[in-house]
């Protein structure tokens, strides 16, 4: 039982750390310009990605953008990538209103939880 107790304490410490980082990320995203956000998203191009572990975090990022950015910012982001054509179609679809509506409707904020139930990895 001691082991279970210890593991749960470590898990709680990790969750607290992650919560603090989510707070920082939220503040950074809210303060970012459209150009800053475009530069972040461009890092998910297969030619620029540092690897699959990075690219797989695209969806968790998109969830947070739809939660923390206003509609005008999201529309501006979608316009930038839509103008780049087919290679960026997946990204454009992720930034487009239908996907945002789905994400905003699906993300729960469980009673008793400090943060919404974002995807971790």
């Amino acid at each position: 039982m001691n082991t279970l107790d210890e593991i749960w304490r470590v898990r709680n410490a990790a969750a607290t750390t992650l919560g603090l980082i989510e707070d920082q990320m939220e503040r950074a995203v809210r303060a970012a310009s459209v150009d800053d956000l475009v530069a972040l998203i461009e890092g998910f191009s297969p030619a620029r990605s540092s690897g699959t572990e990075w690219t797989r975090t695209f969806e968790p990022l998109v969830e947070r953008l739809w939660t923390w950015c206003d509609d005008a910012t999201m529309a501006a982001l979608a316009d930038v990538f839509r103008a780049r054509g087919m290679p960026w179609m997946g990204v454009t679809n992720a930034l487009s209103v239908p996907n945002g509506t789905t994400i905003r409707a699906d993300i729960r904020h469980p009673a008793g939880a400090r943060l919404p139930a974002f995807t971790l990895i």
Partner: protein
């Protein structure tokens, strides 16, 4: 449907194949079998012979005027025949002829690939992949001239050669393997022909040609463009072995002409092979003595660890995981079976976009070649084959994961339809499954398969249903090849999770992108062979 009047002849079949009149060629093929009583086997041989001179390319890399390189696709005609022959036995009777008719339908569309990719010859690549008609339209805007017929004869890039005789068998096998790896097409082909003449050599020859194909495999496809072969050397070698066994080796000259020179065609990709050979030499120096099966197959926990490495890990994790299993005493096929079921997790739970199935299922089919080689032959390098196949699978997962997920291709969960599937009577479930496979409804198809697997131990009719439905789709030899791989691996697999192969198989056949949404070929077949379902 009869597309022309007068007797069907073999000469006519050759002419229609070479002039890319695929509908007419398929009609003639069917009429030769049904009206002229020509044996199916000899018509398959004729179709292979008609195509053989026109399936070679100068290289699988084409240098562009800019100095950049683009890939040139591998011949798929022979892969269709290999799948068809395997499924002939599987489906039986007249239903078993359908895959051969599908293979025939594709053959005229798969000639002269080099000219197709530069829009100078009609066929599947020019019409679909390259969209040549947009770039070079004909006088009638409603006619896609790249659908055939051809306006010029196909080119021959490699003339037929005479057998090379003389020297001991060991010497000639060594020279042949070296010639394949070095790109000496004529020498490799001549030596193969010479060795194939003596039935006593054929078993060793099969092992050698499979080995040559398996070790020629890219280390990664990530951002590589055309500098890869996605397992096509191994797939061709397997096609040669299977079709020659079916036709008879003395009846297989044109088949050998189709396959062997291309095994020596550039590029030659032995980087992954070198890496795996190196780590095996360092970590398991006695790997040549590892048994096929052991008394210590993978545990459930080990299957979970392997799944995690294969689907979510990187190349080093795949190497290290497999290495740990060999070092603790698992056998070659124990681990290979584990790799095959672990990979299904990706097909079942992760893959969504219809286009994204292409590379992973090439990896699955390549792993099937490796596994049959391990099952049917004894070769001191087979341990390395398991690493090669697993690395290819993992690389295709990682390659797909380099693209941000497109929400437009999101797939509903299969579990959403489980209640619906459970409500269908067991004796009705397979016809409903067929309907949903043909409708390309993956969530419902997969829910039906889950429900069936849980409610009965019957598997043969389930596999038959998936396979026959899959064979309705035309223009794509990958379909039949994947059917064949999935069926073989399901039957040979000894893990507790072998049913996952059926789940992955059904998902693939219900979701993988289709090259045509009409069933003209099936309808032609159904009319000639008087089977149900003629639309």
């Amino acid at each position: 449907m009869v597309l022309f009047q007068g007797p069907a002849t073999v000469g006519r079949l050759h002419e229609e194949i070479q002039s890319v009149r695929y509908k007419e060629a398929t009609d003639t093929f069917c009429r030769l079998v049904t009206e002229e009583d020509r044996p199916l086997k000899s018509m398959i041989k004729e179709a292979i012979a008609a195509a053989a001179p026109y399936v070679q390319v100068p290289s699988h890399l084409m240098r562009l005027p800019t100095g950049e390189m683009r890939g040139v696709n591998y011949d798929h005609t022979i892969l269709g025949w290999r799948g068809a022959i395997s499924l002939m036995r599987e489906l039986g009777d007249n239903r078993g002829v359908l895959p051969s008719v599908q293979a025939m339908w594709y053959v005229p569309q798969g000639l002269n690939v080099w000219e197709q990719v530069i829009c100078e010859f009609p066929g599947h690549y020019a019409r679909d992949g390259e969209q040549c008609n947009r770039k070079f339209p004909g006088p009638d805007e409603h006619v896609n001239r790249f659908d055939g017929p051809a306006w010029a004869p196909p080119k021959i890039y490699f003339e037929d050669h005479a057998p090379i005789l003389g020297g001991s068998v060991d010497e000639r096998l060594d020279r042949m393997s070296w010639a394949i790896a070095e790109g000496e097409k004529a020498e490799a082909y001549g030596l193969f022909l010479g060795l194939a003449q003596d039935p006593a050599n054929r078993r060793r020859l099969k092992d050698a040609i499979l080995f040559s194909g398996i070790i020629d495999l890219q280390d990664t496809i990530i951002n590589r463009g055309g500098y890869q072969n996605i397992g096509h050397k191994a797939l061709r070698a397997r096609a040669l072995v299977d079709i020659a066994d079916y036709l008879g080796w003395d009846q297989s000259h044109e088949l050998m002409y189709t396959v062997v020179p291309d095994l020596a065609c550039s590029p030659h990709l032995h980087g992954l092979w070198s890496e795996i050979a190196n780590i095996c030499r360092m970590e398991i120096p006695d790997h040549a003595n590892i048994p096929k099966r052991s008394a210590k197959p993978l545990t459930e926990r080990e299957l979970d660890i392997l799944t995690e490495a294969l689907v979510w890990g990187g190349p080093a994790e795949v190497n290290s995981t497999i290495m740990s299993f060999f070092k603790r005493g698992a056998g070659i096929l124990d681990i290979g079976d584990g790799v095959m079921v672990a990979f299904q997790k990706y097909l079942i739970d992760v893959l969504e976009h219809p286009n994204a199935f292409l590379h992973p299922t090439h990896a699955l089919d390549t792993m099937n070649v490796i596994m049959t080689w391990c099952r049917d032959f004894d070769n001191p390098h087979q341990v390395k084959g398991i690493f090669m196949g697993a690395r290819f699978m993992n690389d295709t997962v990682r390659s797909n994961a380099m693209m941000p997920r497109d929400p437009a291709s999101r797939l509903e969960s299969r579990s959403k339809y489980r209640g619906w599937a459970d409500g269908i009577a067991l004796d009705r479930i397979l016809p409903v499954l067929k309907e949903h496979l043909l409708a390309q409804d993956a969530p419902r198809s997969c829910a039906l398969v889950d429900s069936y697997l849980d409610r009965t131990t019957e598997r043969h009719t389930l596999l038959d249903t998936i396979t026959y439905a899959a064979c309705h789709w035309q223009n794509d030899p990958h379909v039949m090849r994947n059917c064949s791989s999935s069926l073989e691996e399901y039957r040979a697999n000894r893990t507790s999770r072998k049913d996952d192969i059926i789940r992955g198989y059904a998902k693939h056949q219900a979701r993988y992108i289709k090259r045509a949404l009409t069933h003209d070929c099936f309808n032609l077949y159904a009319g000639h062979f008087k089977v149900e379902g003629h639309a």
